[in-house]
C-alpha cells in the first residue's frame, strides 16, 4: 500500500495553494469556533449544566475541518462520540449543539441524544455514535446506499434527480481499530468497493491506553487496510494545509472511482479522554509540546498573517472575539431553553408509525405504565 504521506495519484502540487483566502479564513474560523465552544463545554460541564459522558474535541480541530473541506456538504458522514467538532464544522448551530448537551428541547435531538449523539439531517451528519467502532458498519452502509443510488436506482433519493457520485466519511478513534466491527466493515467495503473513507482520528490514546499498548502495527496502521485491499494512508493532522493537500486527492479518487480508503490521521487531544480523566498515562510535557509548538489554529493563523497576508492581528482578534460571543450566546440560549416536556416527549420518536397500542396517542402503551404520567399519553392505568 501507499507509504506515509504519499498522495495516491499525480496531482498538482499543494491543492491548498489553489484555495482562495476566504476558504482558508473559513477553516480558521471553523477551528476557532470548535476551540471556543469546547472551552465553554468544559465550563458548563464543571457547573453540572451538562451531564453524562462528555468528550471534547480540543486539539483535533484541523482534522475535521480539513477533511470536511475536501468533500461536498451532501456527502454523508458518521462519527463516534467525540462529535461536537463534526457537528459544528458541518454547520449545526452552536445553539442547537449546546442545548443538546444541556438536555433541552431546543437541542438538535430535542435533548434525547446528548453529547455523544449529535445528529443533523440537513447537514448530512448521520450521528455521533456511542459504542466504539459500531459506526464503522454504518459508514459502510452509507457508502453502499450511495453506490446503490448510482447503480440500481439511477436517481438521487433526496431530490429525485440524477444521482451524484458521493463518498461517505466514517470517523473513528484509534481505539476502534481493535473492534471487530471495523474489520467486518472494512472487509465489506474492500470486497464490494464501497465509497467510504475510514478516517482514524489517531490521537495516540484510546482512553488511557497508548496506541502501542492497544493495537498491532501501531507505527504503520496502513497495514491493516492492506489486509482488506483498501488503499491506506497516514497523514499529519495538525497542519491543516498539509492535511488538505494529502486528503483531498484521496477523497476525489474515492468519489470518482467509487472505492474505499483508510486514512490514519495523526492528531492530538489536549484534554482528557472525557471530563473525568486525570490523565496519568501521559506527561504534561507531551501535551505542552503539541499545544505550544504544533497547535493547528496557531499554525494556520500564522500562515494567513505571514505567508498569505490576508489576516491582520486585529482581524484575528476580532474573529476570536466574535466567536467567543457566538458561543456565549449559545450557552445562554441553552441555559434559558425549556426542558423537554415528559408528557409530550418521553414517548415520542420511539416509532415512525407506532401501532395504536404502542402510540402515545393510543389507548395503551406496551409494557409497564408510568403512574406519574397517568392520564397522559403513554402512561397510567386504563
Amino acid at each position: 500500500m501507499t507509504a506515509v504521506t504519499t498522495a495516491p495519484r499525480s496531482i498538482p502540487r499543494r491543492p491548498s495553494a489553489a484555495l482562495p483566502d476566504e476558504a482558508l479564513l473559513r477553516m480558521l474560523r471553523d477551528m476557532q469556533l470548535i476551540r471556543e465552544f469546547e472551552n465553554r463545554t468544559m465550563q458548563a460541564y464543571q457547573q453540572a449544566k451538562i451531564g453524562g459522558f462528555c468528550h471534547v474535541y480540543t486539539g483535533q480541530e484541523a482534522l475535521v475541518v480539513g477533511t470536511f473541506a475536501s468533500v461536498n456538504h451532501d456527502d454523508p458522514i458518521v462519527t463516534a462520540y467525540r462529535d461536537h467538532g463534526h457537528a459544528l464544522a458541518r454547520g449545526m448551530s452552536p445553539r442547537a449543539c449546546m442545548a443538546e448537551m444541556f438536555g433541552r428541547a431546543t437541542g438538535c435531538a430535542k435533548g434525547k441524544g446528548g453529547s455523544m449523539h449529535m445528529f443533523d439531517k440537513p447537514n448530512h451528519l448521520y450521528g455521533g455514535h456511542g459504542i466504539v467502532g459500531a459506526q464503522t458498519a454504518l459508514g459502510a452502509g452509507l457508502a453502499f446506499a450511495v453506490k446503490y443510488e448510482l447503480e440500481v436506482l439511477g436517481r438521487d433519493l433526496a431530490s429525485g434527480g440524477n444521482p451524484k457520485k458521493r463518498v461517505a466519511l466514517c470517523y473513528l478513534g484509534d481505539g476502534a481499530l481493535n473492534q471487530g466491527c471495523l474489520h467486518e466493515a472494512m472487509n465489506l467495503a474492500g470486497l464490494w468497493s464501497l465509497p467510504v473513507i475510514f478516517i482514524v482520528e489517531n490521537n495516540l490514546y484510546s482512553m488511557g491506553t497508548s496506541i502501542h499498548r492497544g493495537t498491532t502495527s501501531a507505527d504503520d496502521l496502513t497495514k491493516k487496510a492492506a489486509a482488506y485491499e483498501i488503499d491506506g494512508f497516514s497523514f499529519d493532522g495538525m497542519d491543516i494545509l498539509s492535511l488538505y493537500d494529502n486528503f483531498k486527492p484521496v477523497a476525489d479518487a474515492c468519489r470518482d472511482d467509487q472505492k474505499p480508503a483508510f486514512v490514519d490521521i495523526r492528531t492530538y487531544r489536549y484534554k482528557g479522554h472525557s471530563m473525568s480523566d486525570p490523565q496519568k498515562y501521559r506527561t504534561r510535557e507531551e501535551v505542552e509540546e503539541y499545544e505550544s509548538k504544533r497547535d493547528s489554529i496557531a499554525m494556520l493563523a500564522a500562515h494567513l498573517m505571514r505567508d498569505r497576508a490576508c489576516l491582520s492581528e486585529d482581524a484575528w482578534r476580532a474573529m476570536q472575539d466574535e466567536l467567543a460571543e457566538i458561543v456565549r450566546d449559545a450557552v445562554k440560549f441553552a441555559d434559558e431553553s425549556p426542558w423537554p416536556d415528559p408528557k409530550a416527549e418521553l414517548y415520542s420518536d420511539v416509532m415512525v408509525s407506532p401501532h395504536p397500542r404502542m402510540s402515545p396517542s393510543g389507548e395503551y402503551v406496551e409494557g409497564a405504565c408510568n403512574p406519574i404520567l397517568e392520564g397522559q399519553p403513554g402512561g397510567g392505568e386504563r
Binding site: G127, V350, V352
Partner: protein, 356 residues
Amino acid sequence: MPTLDLITETPLHPYASGADFPGGAGPRPIQFREALREAMAEEMRRDPRIFLMGEEVAEYNGAYKVSQGMLDEFGPKRIIDSPISENGFAGLAVGAAMYGLRPIIEFMSWSFSLVAADQILNNVPKMLYMSGGQWGCPVVFRGNDGAGGQLGSTHSWAVEGLFSNVPGVKIAIPSNPYDAKGLLKTAIRDDDPVFFLESERMLGDKAHVPAPEDGDLLVPFGEAALRSVGDACTLVSFGRPVNFCLEAAADLREKEGIEVDVLDMRTIRPLDIDAIIRSLRTTSRLVVVDQCWPFASVASEVVAQVCERAFDLLDHQPLRVNSDDVPTPYSKALEAEFLPHKGKIVAAVRKTLGYT
C-alpha cells in the same frame, strides 16, 4: 362457546398447514418458504429501494431455499451474498436504511444475530429516539428462530423473549404460510424496524395462500387471529408453538370434549392484549405457550399484562408453558421434551380446569 361478535377484529382465516394442521386446505397450497419468497419478490418489484442481503441468499439460492430464484430475477446488486459477518452487514443495513434504502437482512438463524447484538439492539431500535426523530431505521431482519431439530444449545435460540424487552422494534412471528406472506409484506412496508421470526421446522408447511393477482395480502400488525374456538380456556401463543396448541386443542376436543380458544398473536410487539382479554371474558382461564425460556419471557409479559388489566376475569391463576429452563439439548429425546409440546399444553389446560 364465545360469540364471534366478541372477536370481530380477529377474523378467522382459511389457514391450513399440511396434514398436521387442522383448518382445511385451500385451492392454492404453497410452502411457508414460498410464501416468504412471494412476499419479498412482490415487494421488490414494487419498490426498487428494497434489497435482500445475507449469507447464501443469492448464488446458493438460500441456505433454506427461501430466496430460490430471486438472484435470477433481481440480479446481484439487489440479491446480495454476504460473507459471514453478521455484525458488519447488520450495521451496513442500518446505514443504508438511514440513507433511504429499505434493506431486508436474512440471518441464516436468529442464533447468529447475537454476534450482531450491538447493531440490532443498540442502533436499530434507538436511532429514531436518539436522533430526536430525524432518522428511523426501516430494516426487516428475518430468519429462522427456535429449535431447528437437534441443532444443540448455540443454534437453537428463540430470541423473542430477549429481544421483545427492547422498545423501538416491531416483532412479527407467523405460524403458517398465509401469515408468513401477509406479515412479511406488512413488515417490508413498515417505516420502523421489524424483527421477523421464522422457523426452519415450518418452512415446508403448506397452506392455502391467495394468488398474487387477487391483490396484496397484507396482514396487519397487532391483530391476533382466533385459530380454534372454545369456552373452557384461552390458549395464547405465537410462531411455531401455535401449531402445538392446535394439536393440543384437537386432543382435548376429541378425547375429553374440552373446547379451547387458540389465539395466534402473529406479532409480539405490538401485542394484541385486547384480543386475549376478549377471549378471557368467556373462558376465564389462561395458558400462554411460548418457545423461549420461562424467566422474563413473552409468556411472562402476557401473564403480567393480563393480571394488571383483567385480574377479575380469571377463575384460575394463569399458567405458562415454555421451553424448559435449561440450554437446548441435542438428543432427540431430550429436545422433544424440552419444547412446549402438546403434552405439556394439555396438562396445563387440564390444571386450569381443576382436573388432576
